[in-house]
């Protein structure tokens, strides 16, 4: 176990140490103490290592992650796991706005609530939120799964492409071109697997599925007067 004191030794040293790890490293477990809300903790990692942050973080924690498993024992500021490619990011507390934005792959688990714009423009990442999510979540989401065990805020899935949205609680309102869709057995299987991996005991049957009505994909000449 490597322990890094962020307050004493600085952010640049932390990220360069973590980014220097590779598949053959013996330093597979890292603990970061005194994060104190700092920004850009553990970004750009590309090795199968485990990093635990002992406390809450600021902006862009665990951004651009590949392969690594990053656990935050606290809450995270805006843009956690932004543009994640693979690996896992687990947040014990809450997440601020645009959690998992533009993510291409991997799994982001938020055990508390996520605020606005969760999963905005997601491109293949899986996101499981144990609590609620805020407004404009999954805006222009292209691929991947967003699972919400609580409630969703206004304008869920506005201008959605092919991401799948699963919500157990209420949805305050759906965004443009987002509709409720039939839950088929293949969706229940995807959902079961994600809930298990995210450590949630919610039952897949309790969720509703939402997706794109695909009415905004092509320009409709009847709408030309609207521009």
């Amino acid at each position: 176990m490597q322990t890094y004191d962020l307050e004493a030794d600085g952010l640049r040293g932390l990220n360069s140490s973590l980014q220097a790890q590779n598949a053959e490293t013996n330093q597979t477990r890292w603990e970061i103490v005194n994060p104190k809300g700092s920004h850009a903790i553990a970004v750009g990692l590309d090795a199968p290592i485990e990093v635990t942050v002992k406390g809450s973080t600021g902006y862009y924690c665990a951004g651009m992650n590949q392969q690594a498993t990053i656990k935050v024992e606290g809450s995270v500021g805006p843009g956690v796991a932004e543009n994640m490619m693979s690996g896992q990011v687990i947040v014990d507390g809450d997440a601020s706005q645009y959690a998992g934005a533009t993510g291409h792959g991997g799994l982001l688990v938020i055990k508390g609530n996520a605020s606005s714009r969760c999963g905005i423009s997601m491109k293949g990442i899986d996101i499981v939120v144990h609590g609620n999510i805020g407004h404009m979540s999954a805006f222009m989401a292209q691929d991947g799964n967003l699972v919400v065990c609580g409630d969703a805020g206004d304008a869920l899935g506005d201008s959605l492409y092919e991401a799948r949205l699963f919500v157990r609680g209420s949805v305050k309102s759906l965004g443009a071109d987002c509709i409720e869709k039939e839950m088929r057995s293949e969706h229940l299987e995807v959902l079961k697997d994600l809930l298990e991996r995210a450590g949630s005991d919610a039952k897949p049957e309790e969720f509703k599925r939402y997706g794109s009505a695909r009415q905004l994909y092509n320009f409709d000449i009847d709408n030309s007067a609207a521009y």
Partner: protein, 309 residues
């Protein structure tokens, strides 16, 4: 960007440390606003007295004999307490308008930063640390206070463009964001007779709240109607004689985090601003909801009002 901090004490044994805690929070927010900084602090009240904080670009000449001259105009004893470019003048309640008119005659270059029974506002151009040092903010005590670090976008970097803005007696406002309809609103408010001194967007926001309250709205009602009438991005923190309030626009892209313990309620643009507060490890920490007005007062229990979108 811009940074906002706020601290409302429930446990008054912390009052002597209020300035110290707020200053630490303010300096942590330097990255978000290195252009200018300011603080509004609610201290002790003297029965029957009103105080105004005034600023001058030439304090070494303007502040000499100021209390005596103002006292002659008012026919009353005026207290004066200088602090760098600012001085606090204290006089009998009810004489504010007379005092303001007199000041424009006897000291044309001083500007009124705040008025109230408890409120004092200190703000200047420069790094938050330098601003805090010149006013010795960390030595101030009080029941609650708010602070702001500015990264200017809508108007010039000047003392008058710095926050907090005084919106009425013992009321003030700080703002993170930008208002896009401030020019048309400024014209409208000026036609209504509201004084607006600069081209700054936040001053228009502050003047809007003043105007609403002049027409009978409570501060809570004025904040709720601001969600309809102000176009743009805002996280506002307002100070009142007894407490403070928070409101965010419906888009809520300007950050906000709050923490509450048995001893205090704290606001920060980022969690970083809160990390040195006592007992923060066990505080309830949350992000205020969009379009929702939050209030904490020493007189009442906390309230929230959600505005239907």
């Amino acid at each position: 960007m811009c940074g906002i901090v706020g601290l409302f004490l429930k446990d008054q044994s912390l009052a002597p440390q209020l300035g110290n805690m707020l200053t630490d929070m303010l300096i942590t927010m330097t990255d978000r606003g290195p252009d200018s900084a300011g603080i509004a602090i609610y201290g002790a009240e003297v029965e029957g007295k009103t105080k105004i904080t005034v600023q001058s670009p030439n304090p070494e000449t303007d502040f000499v004999g100021l209390a005596d001259e103002l006292g002659k105009s008012l026919g009353a004893t005026v207290g004066q307490s200088d602090n760098d470019t600012h001085t606090v003048l204290e006089f009998p309640t009810g004489q504010f308008e007379t005092a303001r008119a007199a000041l424009t005659e006897i000291r044309p270059s001083v500007r009124v930063m705040s008025r109230g029974e408890r409120l004092e506002i200190y703000k200047e151009v420069g790094l938050p640390k330098d601003v805090a040092d010149r006013f010795n903010l960390s030595s101030m005590s009080g029941t609650h206070g708010i602070g702001h670090t500015r990264m200017a976008t809508e108007s010039a970097v000047t003392t008058m463009g710095a926050h907090p803005f005084n919106t009425g007696s013992d009321q003030c406002l700080v703002h993170n964001g930008s208002l896009s309809n401030h020019n048309s609103l400024r014209r409208k408010l000026r036609r209504e007779g509201v004084t607006i001194q600069t081209e700054n967007d936040t001053e228009v926001g502050a003047a809007y709240l003043t105007w609403k309250m002049m027409n009978g709205a409570t501060l809570g009602e004025a904040l709720e109607s601001s969600i309809d009438d102000l176009d743009g991005f805002f996280t506002f923190v307002v100070g009142t004689k007894d407490g403070f309030g928070v409101v965010r626009d419906p888009i809520a892209c300007k950050p906000a985090v709050m923490a509450e313990t048995d001893q205090y309620v704290a606001f920060g643009s980022e969690y970083r601003a809160l990390v040195n507060l006592p007992g923060i490890e066990d505080a309830r920490v949350w992000e205020p909801e969009p379009s929702t007005v939050y209030f904490w007062s020493h007189n009442d229990s906390p309230t929230t009002h959600e505005k239907a979108a």
